[in-house]
Amino acid sequence: MELLTILLEIGQGLAGLGAGAAAIGAGLGVGRIGGSALEAMARQPEMAGDLRTNMIIAAALVEGVALFGAIICLLVALG
């Protein structure tokens, strides 16, 4: 195999690792958001509605970044 093809193969493998890393980051982020929101809801159940909305917004923002990573990995893997 030529060097270039080997490098391309490695690049595709790294794209997969990148997707994994993005998933780890997003998992940590969303986990923290969910955990903190649950704690806050347990403390002040009357605020549960507001907290849930804000939790979803924050989770969506974190997830957006992770999806950027996933999309870039997808482009590398397919390109």
């Binding site: 093809t5 193969e9 595709q12 493998g13 794209a15 997969g16 997707a19 994994g20 998933a23 509605g49 507001d50 909305t53 979803i56 917004i57 969506a60 997830e63 957006g64 999806l67 950027f68 996933a70 999309i71 990995c73 997808l74 893997a77 397919l78």
Partner: protein
């Protein structure tokens, strides 16, 4: 022969291994899997999940119900093409003859290769889109493609469905004013109230919510119904909200509404954020301006990627069965049981995601509108 990592790795974080892509050697496998009705087996010596998944997630010129090759059941959709050479041409996608990667129309004018239509003879691959803003960089001829593709058909279907459902609901309110809702209206009213009370009013305030509610409700119900249509098996696997063109248009509307409704306060925050030291301004202002464009772009990518990822995961479970089924039938059945269980689990999650993504898109749109129209009080 090339070994490569495949999409499974990307979506599941699972290393399925180096799937060998073998060449087409004309060795046709006789068995035709009709898993889930819509997914077919790539009839090659070695099963390669990447093209299989991409084929099902990507937009197409026909609705592929099931089967492969000669026995495949397709619903053809109209193809509308315009080129300076041939003028406006309208025909059904079944006019493309032959099977395989490259297919031609009978008069030899157009060819379809890898799911893209181009003028026969010109070897550029027009990335034709339904929006028609396609400029194939061919040296001579440009082909404009306004075809009713699978996604466009699904979109029109959802629009018709929404018009019908909400027309019925509105008629029932006119007929029995002040009465408790019945039937269909009973389903729609809680959702409308949810959008109004949980999305629009908290982020926009009572008065401005009325102004933006028509747009928010339209977007919410369009995304929700399009997502749910994509989850119905056996009808061709629509991926409407996973098509970048459609989400891009919705995000553009959000951007336009935000920008056009932006008041003095909003622009002031954008170009001269109050309370920020002057020496930080060269950093803050570009970030704010980039953020203005980035918000709708992320809105677009979030919806597209979420819905497409859901489809890819379910298709990956299908591929898993086919990959293991290749080595032995027993392994195929064994994996098939777990795959099906996981697939049902994923379908349940996708039902949640279908609602959640409609909610998030609408909520963020409402928050952006709220930021743009917020009155200064500090």
């Amino acid at each position: 022969m090339s070994t490569r990592f495949n999409l499974l790795l990307l979506t599941l974080g699972l290393l399925v291994g180096h799937v060998t892509t073998a060449q087409h050697d004309g060795h046709e496998s006789t068995e035709s899997h009709e898993f889930e009705g819509v997914h077919e087996l790539e009839e090659e010596a070695g099963f390669d999940p990447s093209p299989f998944i991409i084929h099902h997630v990507a937009d197409a010129y026909d609705i592929h119900l099931w089967g492969e090759g000669e026995s495949a059941l397709h619903i053809p959709l109209p193809v509308i093409l315009y080129s300076e050479e041939h003028g406006l041409d309208v025909f059904m996608s079944s006019a493309f003859h032959g099977h395989g990667e490259v297919r031609h129309t009978e008069d030899g004018r157009y060819e379809m290769a890898h799911g893209h239509i181009s003028l026969a003879g010109s070897h550029d691959h027009n990335h034709a889109h339904e929006e028609g803003h396609d400029h194939g960089h061919s040296h001579e001829a440009t082909l404009y493609d306004f075809s009713i593709t699978k996604s466009v058909f699904g979109m029109l279907f959802i629009m018709a469905l929404l018009l019908f459902l909400f027309g019925r609901a509105a008629a029932s309110y006119r007929k029995n004013p002040g009465q408790a809702p019945t039937g269909l209206t009973n389903v729609l009213e809680p959702l409308v109230i949810f959008v109004r009370d949980d999305i629009a009013v908290p982020s926009l305030g009572e008065k401005k919510a009325q102004k933006f509610l028509p747009f928010l409700l339209t977007v919410f119900f369009f995304i929700l119904f399009a997502n749910l249509l994509g989850l119905i098996p056996f009808i061709g696997g629509f991926n409407i909200t996973g098509t970048v063109g459609i989400t891009a248009v919705m995000a553009t509307f959000v951007f336009l509404l935000t920008t056009l409704n932006g008041n003095k306060h909003y622009w002031g925050h954008l170009f001269w954020p109050p309370g920020v030291p002057v020496f930080v301004m060269p950093i803050i202002i570009p970030i704010e301006i980039i953020g203005m464009f980035l918000k709708p772009i992320v809105l677009m990518i979030r919806l597209t990627a979420n819905i497409t990822a859901g489809h890819i995961i379910i298709l990956s479970f299908v591929s898993l069965v086919l990959i293991f089924g290749e080595s032995s039938a027993a392994a195929g059945y064994g994996v098939g049981i777990f795959s099906t269980a996981f697939m049902i689990f994923m379908y349940c999650i996708e039902l949640l995601v279908a609602f959640l993504q409609a909610f998030i898109f609408t909520l963020l749109a409402a928050i952006y509108f709220g930021e743009a129209t917020h009155e200064a009080h500090h």
